[in-house]
Symmetry: C2
Subunit: 194 residues, 2 copies
Amino acid sequence: MARTAGSHSDITGPRVREAALALFAQHGYAAVSMRRIAQEVGVQAGALYNYTPDKQSLLFDLMQGHMDELLKARSQEPVCNSALAQLEAFSRFHIRFHLERPLAVFISYMELRNLTPDNFAVIEDLRRRYEGELEAILRDGRDMGAFHVADTKITTLAIIAMLNGVNTWYRSEGRLSLPEVEAIYWDMVRKAVT
Amino acid sequence: MARTAGSHSDITGPRVREAALALFAQHGYAAVSMRRIAQEVGVQAGALYNYTPDKQSLLFDLMQGHMDELLKARSQEPVCNSALAQLEAFSRFHIRFHLERPLAVFISYMELRNLTPDNFAVIEDLRRRYEGELEAILRDGRDMGAFHVADTKITTLAIIAMLNGVNTWYRSEGRLSLPEVEAIYWDMVRKAVT
DNA sequence: GCTTGATCTGAACAGGTGTTCAGATAATCA
DNA sequence: TGATTATCTGAACACCTGTTCAGATCAAGC
């Protein structure tokens, strides 16, 4: 069994995923060819098939990996007591997590229609699971009188849509720091539901 | 000069745009071929070039047409007195207008990266112009003490992102009517800025 | 040093891409 | 009815697509 430790696959594999992530985010899944990805990695197109069964899996694995990371990171956050503190923690976590991986976030929202139906169902389930966490916070908070929301489902989607908007304009070298952005958005979220 | 009134171009022209709109929205610009559009219209691919110089113009014209309609419709809305009434009018108008043309809205957000740089600049300018109207409302309202917003630019983007979220879930046959949706979102917007 | 086998190349496959254009078609006007 | 011409066809152009695979390459284990 030769060429296991230190073999090129440990290097090429991640590079394939990185190149696909960057190119899919910039030009879109359909507009990026396997040859273009291979060129970015510095390899011939055929070599990519040592690391992915096909182009579709490349996209799906990126999206599934992102959603898994999202749910895992969320589950490792400390739990808060009050409904308000829980909502604040969620809002700040969401902004922070999403600003740390803008390319994966972009792909996960833009390339849903390029997934096969089966793959789409998997990603959609993971997304619903994440949204469910926010909705549970809103529902509990409303039942305890901490929030005043007309419809927890819609409010969930409205808050997530608003928070996702950060990714469209935030630049780390911009005039606002991450804590400042968090504070501004949390202020809007808090007022919107109380 | 034969074949002017009642010629097929009066019918085929709009059908080309409609087919392109629907297909671009469903599969994405890069994933839709001119032959696929032609098939939808019931014509050969070459005939499309009587109605558009190229595929890129087809996309650009759809997006520019949408943004022009948006700005025109907005300019024809009655002006309100108070800052709060202006913000309410803007919020309700935005939801109504966008829910009336979900495909054009979808394309105008998803296909920006498939525009040539020149075309992108045009669309981006129109978008900024629209966002500027909301920001002006927020700025005036804040200066007059009606709103409490930390940053009018960010609040503008946050509100638009939130309102745009309606298009991801609203269905006309769903459990909520358009007025109900407008009321729920306006309630959240109002509370977020006051 | 020799064998092993993971890794990669380069060519090939069948089919699709946007676009052009000579020529067929047919609706309109004189 | 006949001439005009907008509209459309069908084939062609040069190139790109995802994917496969026989064979070359070369680091690691014996």
